[in-house]
C-alpha cells in the first residue's frame, strides 16, 4: 500500500528555484482543492489555470496562490478563429496555458495528483526535482548505465566517451506516478487493483532515436527550447479520439528534440496519482487510438526532418506536412489534425512574437 505525503505543517519553501521564470499550468473542470497539499512546494509560483467545460462555472482557487485563469470564452476571445486548435472537454486544452505563458519553464500537473512520499517517508518536492532535471544536461547519444551522471553521487561509467560528457540541453522532464499508474483502458480493465508501489530512484535520458509514451500528468519543459512543439492535439468534444493528447505531443517533441540535439529525461520525480478514471469511458476514448498508434508509431520512427528545419516551429510545420501526407489515408482526422498543428504554430507565433523575446 502506498500513501500520499502529509504536508500539513510543512513550511513553504523559502528558496523556490526559478520562482519568476516558471509557470505552473493546470487544466481543470472541477476544483483545485489538491493545491492545498502542494502549498509548501508550489505556492511561491505563478499558476495558469485553464478551465475546461462550462465557462460559467466558478473555479475556486485556494487562498495565497497567484494565478491567471482562462475559460473557453477567454480562449475564444484571445485566439479568435484560431481557437479551433484548442480542444474542448479534454485536458488537452492545457496547451493553451503553454501558449499564453511568458515564462521560460512550464510545469504541468493534473488536479488529481498529490504529493508523493519517497522511501524514507519524506514528501517529494516534485517541482524542485523537475527543475534540477531541466537545469542539468541530458545525455541522449550514449546510454549511461548509472543513469543520470550529473546527479549527486553518480557519474559517467567506464567506457563512456569523454567527448559526450558535456551533454546537451534538457528540453523535457517527464515524471512518474505512484499509486494509480498511467495504464490504458484494456490494462485497467484487466488489472483494476494494480497500484504502482515501486519507487525507482533514477532519472535518465531517453536515447536519441527512441520514442516513448509521454504522460502529461507530471511534466515540465523548457518553453524556450521546445514550447511550440508541445501541442496536445485535437481531442474531446467533436473529435474521434481522446487520451492521446500527451502521447501525440510526446512523439512530436521527441522527433524534434532528436533532430535539434535536445534531451528528454524520464524518471523522478514521482507524484501520487489518486484517481483512477473510468476504464469503460477510457476505452471508448482510446479505442481508435489503439489501432491508429500501430501506424502512427512507425510514422514517427521514420520521420526525418530536413537540415533546413532549425527552429522548433520550422520542425513542427514540416512534421505537420508529413502528417497530412502520410497519415490522412489512415483517417481524415489526421488531415484536420495537420491543419490544427499549423494553426497552433500561427497562434503561438502571434502570442509570442520573436521580436518581443529576442528569439528566432
Amino acid at each position: 500500500m502506498v500513501e500520499p505525503a502529509n504536508t500539513v505543517g510543512l513550511p513553504v519553501n523559502p528558496t523556490p528555484l526559478l520562482k519568476d521564470e516558471l509557470d505552473i499550468v493546470i487544466p481543470t473542470i472541477r476544483n483545485l482543492d489538491f493545491l492545498e497539499m502542494w502549498r509548501p512546494f508550489l505556492q511561491p509560483y505563478h499558476l495558469i489555470i485553464v478551465q475546461d467545460g462550462d465557462p460559467s462555472k466558478k473555479i475556486h482557487v485556494p487562498e495565497g496562490y497567484d494565478y491567471e485563469l482562462y475559460n473557453r470564452n477567454d480562449i475564444n476571445r484571445i485566439l479568435g478563429p484560431k481557437a479551433s486548435c484548442i480542444s474542448f472537454k479534454d485536458s488537452a486544452c492545457r496547451c493553451f496555458g503553454y501558449m499564453v505563458s511568458k515564462k521560460k519553464y512550464i510545469f504541468t500537473i493534473d488536479d488529481d495528483c498529490f504529493v508523493a512520499k519517497d522511501p524514507s517517508g519524506k514528501a517529494v518536492n516534485a517541482l524542485e526535482q523537475h527543475i534540477k532535471n531541466l537545469l542539468c544536461p541530458s545525455s541522449p547519444f550514449f546510454f549511461n548505465t548509472l543513469y543520470d551522471p550529473y546527479r549527486e553521487g553518480a557519474d559517467f561509467v567506464r567506457g563512456y566517451p569523454f567527448s559526450l560528457r558535456e551533454g546537451v540541453s534538457t528540453a523535457v522532464s517527464h515524471g512518474l506516478w505512484l499509486n494509480i499508474p498511467d495504464y490504458d483502458a484494456p490494462t485497467q480493465l484487466v488489472k483494476p487493483k494494480e497500484r504502482n508501489t515501486r519507487y525507482v530512484d533514477a532519472v535518465m535520458t531517453i536515447p536519441k532515436g527512441t520514442l516513448f509514451p509521454m504522460c502529461g500528468m507530471n511534466l515540465a519543459f523548457d518553453r524556450d527550447l521546445i514550447g511550440p512543439a508541445m501541442y496536445f492535439g485535437l481531442m474531446g468534444d467533436g473529435q474521434p479520439i481522446g487520451r492521446y493528447d500527451d502521447m501525440w505531443a510526446g512523439w512530436c517533441i521527441k522527433v524534434i528534440c532528436d533532430h535539434l540535439s535536445l534531451g528528454v529525461k524520464t524518471g523522478l520525480p514521482y507524484i501520487y496519482h489518486s484517481k483512477a478514471s473510468n476504464p469503460f469511458v477510457n476505452l471508448k476514448k482510446e479505442y481508435k487510438g489503439i489501432f491508429w498508434q500501430e501506424e502512427i508509431i512507425p510514422f514517427f520512427q521514420n520521420a526525418k526532418l530536413s537540415k533546413e528545419a532549425v527552429t522548433v516551429q520550422q520542425c513542427y510545420i514540416e512534421l505537420s506536412k508529413m502528417v497530412k501526407e502520410k497519415l490522412s489515408s489512415l483517417d481524415p482526422y489526421f488531415d484536420k489534425l495537420a491543419d490544427a498543428m499549423v494553426t497552433w504554430i500561427e497562434a503561438w507565433d502571434e502570442l509570442n512574437p520573436p521580436a518581443a523575446n529576442g528569439k528566432a
Binding site: P119, F141, F143, T145, D155, G159, T187, R195, I206, G250
Partner: protein, 348 residues
C-alpha cells in the same frame, strides 16, 4: 519467478580468477551459487595455485587446458580479465552468469542479500522491449505493466540476449573519474530492470553480466586489448568493446539487452591514481569507436551470429584499422574467435 523456478541445469557460472585465493569470494556467494555448475578460469599469467573452498560443483581451467583446446598461440587471447571468455567458449549451457572475483553479494534496501544469479536468469528468460521505451521500466515484473500509449503489437517483446547488472560501493567508473572523486561510492539502489533501446549505444561492463549463450555466445568477443592492459578494471576496455559489438549485433538481429538489477557489492581494489599513470589509450579508442558503431550497418544477409561477428570484424579492419593497430588486432581476434568457437562447438 523465484530461484525455485529457474532451471539450474541451464546455467553455467563462469568466474575469471585474477586472484589466487577465491575463498572469500566463493564463500560469500555460496548461498546463491549452490546447485549451479561453476567454471573457474585461471588467468594464465597468475602463478599461484588457486585456493577454492569445498562444496562447489566446479571445473577449473588453467593455461594448460587453454593450450590443449585452442593451441599455445591462441591461448594469449585469454589473459587477464579475458580469461573468462575461455569459460564461455567451452561451456555447454544455455545461460552464462559471470561476476568478477572482487565482488560479493549486495544488500537491497530492506537489508536482504541480493541473489544476483537468479535475477540475471529471470532477466534473460523474460522478453526485452527495445523498440519502444516503457516509462515504468520492466513491464513483465510483478506490479508493473506497459503504460498507456505503448503500442500493443510491441508488447510481446523480443528475446533477451544479455543482462547487465550494476555495482554498489565501487561503481565501474574509469580511472580519471575515480581518481578525481576518491571518496565517491555508489550507494544508490535503483530498483529497476529496463531494456536499453535499439540503436542506443552503451558501455557494457563485464564485472556483473549474464547472457544467453545459445542466442549470442559467439558475439561476446575477447578482442580489444589495450597496450599495457592491466589486472584492474581501470586498465582494461575489453568488456566495453565486447559490449559495443554485442549491442550492435543484438540490435541487428532484433534481440534485446537489459540493464539495471541485479546489484553486486564491489570491493575496493587497485588505485585509480596509479592507473592514471598508464597512458590513457582506452579513451582515444572509445572516441574512434563511437562514430564507427553509430554509422555501421551490417548487411541484411548476416543472419547468423557468427556471420555478424565476421562482418563486424571486416568493417573494423576497413574503417578503423588505419586509426590504431589495436583495432586491426581486435578485428583479427574476432575472426580467430569465431574459428575457435566453431571448432570447439562443432561437435555439440
Amino acid at each position: 519467478m523465484s530461484s525455485a523456478e529457474i532451471n539450474k541445469n541451464e546455467v553455467d557460472i563462469v568466474i575469471g580468477a585474477l586472484n589466487a585465493d577465491l575463498t572469500q569470494f566463493l564463500t560469500s556467494w555460496r548461498p546463491f551459487f549452490s546447485g549451479f555448475h561453476l567454471i573457474v578460469v585461471k588467468d594464465p599469467e597468475l602463478k599461484e595455485e588457486l585456493n577454492i573452498p569445498e562444496g562447489f560443483d566446479v571445473d577449473v581451467y588453467s593455461k594448460t587446458d587453454m593450450e590443449k583446446v585452442v593451441g599455445a598461440s591462441n591461448a594469449t587471447m585469454f589473459s587477464g580479465y579475458s580469461c573468462r571468455y575461455f569459460g564461455y567458449l567451452i561451456s555447454k549451457k544455455k545461460y552464462i552468469v559471470s561476476i568478477d572475483d572482487d565482488c560479493v553479494p549486495a544488500k537491497d534496501p530492506k537489508g536482504f542479500l541480493v541473489d544476483a544469479v537468479t535475477q540475471h536468469v529471470i532477466n534473460l528468460e523474460n522478453p526485452a522491449t527495445p523498440l519502444f521505451f516503457n516509462t515504468l521500466y520492466d513491464p513483465y515484473c510483478e506490479g508493473a505493466d506497459f503504460v498507456r500509449g505503448y503500442p500493443f503489437s510491441l508488447r510481446s517483446g523480443v528475446p533477451c540476449a544479455a543482462s547487465c547488472g550494476l555495482w554498489l560501493n565501487l561503481a565501474d567508473l574509469d580511472a580519471p573519474t575515480q581518481a578525481l572523486k576518491t571518496e565517491q561510492r555508489n550507494t544508490s539502489y535503483v530498483d529497476a530492470v529496463m531494456t536499453v533501446p535499439a540503436k542506443a549505444m552503451l558501455p557494457i561492463s563485464g564485472i556483473n553480466i549474464a547472457f544467453n549463450r545459445e542466442l549470442v555466445g559467439p558475439a561476446l568477443v575477447p578482442a580489444l586489448r589495450l597496450a599495457g592492459e592491466g589486472k584492474v578494471r581501470w586498465e582494461t576496455l575489453e568488456d566495453v568493446w565486447c559490449g559495443m559489438c554485442l549491442k550492435h549485433i543484438s540490435d541487428h538481429l532484433g534481440y534485446g539487452v537489459k540493464t539495471g538489477l541485479p546489484y553486486v557489492w564491489r570491493n575496493e581494489r587497485g588505485d585509480a591514481v596509479e592507473s592514471l599513470r598508464k597512458k590513457w589509450e582506452g579513451m582515444k579508442l572509445m572516441e574512434k569507436s563511437v562514430p564507427f558503431f553509430e554509422s555501421l550497418k551490417l548487411p541484411e544477409t548476416a543472419l547468423k551470429i557468427e556471420d555478424c561477428v565476421i562482418e563486424l570484424a571486416k568493417a573494423v579492419k576497413e574503417q578503423l584499422g588505419s586509426d590504431d593497430p589495436a583495432f586491426t588486432q581486435a578485428a583479427d581476434a574476432m575472426v580467430k574467435w569465431i574459428q575457435l568457437w566453431n571448432s570447439v562447438n562443432s561437435s555439440v
